[in-house]
Amino acid sequence: MPDLVMRKILEDCDFCTVLVVRKVCRALRDFIDNSFINSSLKRVHIDISIQSIILKVTFSNGGKKYKFKRIQYQHKYEDDCKMEISMNDGSGRTSKEILFENTSFVQLFCDDLERILRANDSIFENISVNFRGGPRKVFKVVVKEECSKIYGIFEKVFCLKNRRKTIRVIEYDYTETMTKVMEAMERSLMYRKLKVASFHMYPVPRDIQFMNIVNNIDATCLKKLEVNGLQDVILKNGVHLGTEIIEERIKWENMKFFCLWPFITSIPVQKLAHIPIVKIKYETISAEDILYLKEVVINSPATYRFTIGSKTKIDVNFLIKVLGPLSKQFYVGPFIWCFEIPGTRKIKVITCNQTSNWLVFTIEPRYKYRSYVVY
């Protein structure tokens, strides 16, 4: 069958059928992996916790209607994996459970994720990864043995207890789970860039390497990039991100929202100044960067908000030297500089929050800050 026809048939199939077709034989697998098939898959949400991973995929059903599939991969008694699948195709919700013996729930999830990302070439509306668990050292997880329905009835009648055991998951195991998920995503991007409009990861633990994924997102499609780290851990240790590839090669022309927080980066502000909403952190903030951003604000769109953080403490005297006298200093709160934008009803406002060590460049309506403007 000619490639074009094969592609056409696969594009007519729903995405789950494409994944089933992929399992039929090597030739089909190779074709699906190496060709560019547009699918109706629009959103992917991944929720990683110690005991389970939830994958929620949403499909466009033509027009504005969406249908979704939620798969929960759970760790079960004796290293089994239970897969709970629930679907809503618009007409109603159906669900089923499958038990995989001696199978790691992480591995099963990673295989599925890799297949999903590799087989799709259309632009995702959204991909989000949520890391649950927090910065704890040890987690206690109770796992329950799956029993038959008959046993389940007797359990209620005779107060029998299901077999349960408590397993201890140390931080290293949880980190390994997250790393495996990241590696599965990276592997799926080896052959093509990830086309996604909005990419969101939160709260990213300290040891998780995600820059390879960010570097492999198609820059022309990306409109929103939001990666939030664990605040307390990162502030203490000051995690530096290797952003050399972004600095040298990547141009985000359509980006509307950029947030890499609170990681420390070295992406030049000039590269980000065209983006309407930015939140970024550096080792230190230079006078050149402050003056550059002050000028950029004038020509920026109405909803402009550039938040620039610093690892080292921001000195207000240094800012007064660079920006001139303060417009307003609240009794408790931020230091403010206001500058009128000639010929408009807007005022550019630079706010310095010394306790959190950040500077915010915004444009505000004239009536709110008129009295603060220094002429």
């Binding site: 026809v5 048939i9 696969l10 594009e11 059928t17 059903n61």
Partner: protein
């Protein structure tokens, strides 16, 4: 003047120029001949360009030999032309790249494609070769619908495809057939394994 009082004029019907429908003649690779209307041919971009380039008059169509379509057999070509005649004059759809594509299979097309898999794949191949966009759309949709809700094993049965193991075995067999020495080495290795040796060397 009322309509009733209007003068009646006799019209000589023979004097009105009636555009004669032109039927082209095509021949399949198994020498079966088909007569297809000019309007029906417009559904196929390939054939439409071909007849335009040939510039046949109605006399040429009758006197010259039928246009040969070497790659398609009579059974398939009959289905193709049946489809073209039924859908003649309809607009040719343009692919806007949207996914999922909303393709509805009309009743006539569903009946036409109620055939065995081999013939259906030949029909798809012919639709692609002759560039009949809508026939390709509906036939691909039919194959996609056939795959819906089936397991990999069922799909292998439907489309007569080998599993990975069968595929590998076939490859190995082909390789061995090419290289008899490889088979000897394999047999020797198996023999040594049976005798209890762990390593070939």
């Amino acid at each position: 003047m009322s309509v009733e009082n209007a003068p009646v004029v006799d019209v000589d019907e023979a004097a009105i120029p009636v555009e004669k429908k032109m039927y082209y003649r095509f021949e399949s690779n198994d020498k079966k001949e088909f007569r297809v209307s000019e309007l029906a041919i417009q559904q196929s971009e390939t054939l439409n360009r071909l007849v335009e380039a040939m510039g046949y008059t109605s006399e040429d169509v009758e006197n010259k030999p039928a246009i040969a379509i070497e790659n398609i057999d009579g059974k398939t070509l009959k289905l193709v032309f049946q489809w073209c005649e039924h859908h003649k004059g309809e607009a040719i759809p343009v692919d806007d790249g949207s996914v999922p594509k909303i393709v509805e299979i009309p009743e006539f097309d569903a009946k036409l494609m109620d055939i065995d898999n081999g013939l259906l794949f030949k029909l798809i191949w012919a639709a692609d070769y002759l560039n009949i966009v809508q026939l390709l759309n509906v036939s691909c949709k039919k194959v996609a619908n056939m795959a819906q809700g089936k397991t990999p094993a069922q799909l292998r049965r439907v489309y007569l495809l080998p599993s990975d193991e069968e595929d590998e075995a076939a490859k190995r067999a082909a390789q061995e057939a090419q290289d008899p020495r490889a088979r000897e080495v394999e047999e020797e290795f198996e023999e040594r394994k049976r005798q209890g040796g762990n390593s070939f060397f």
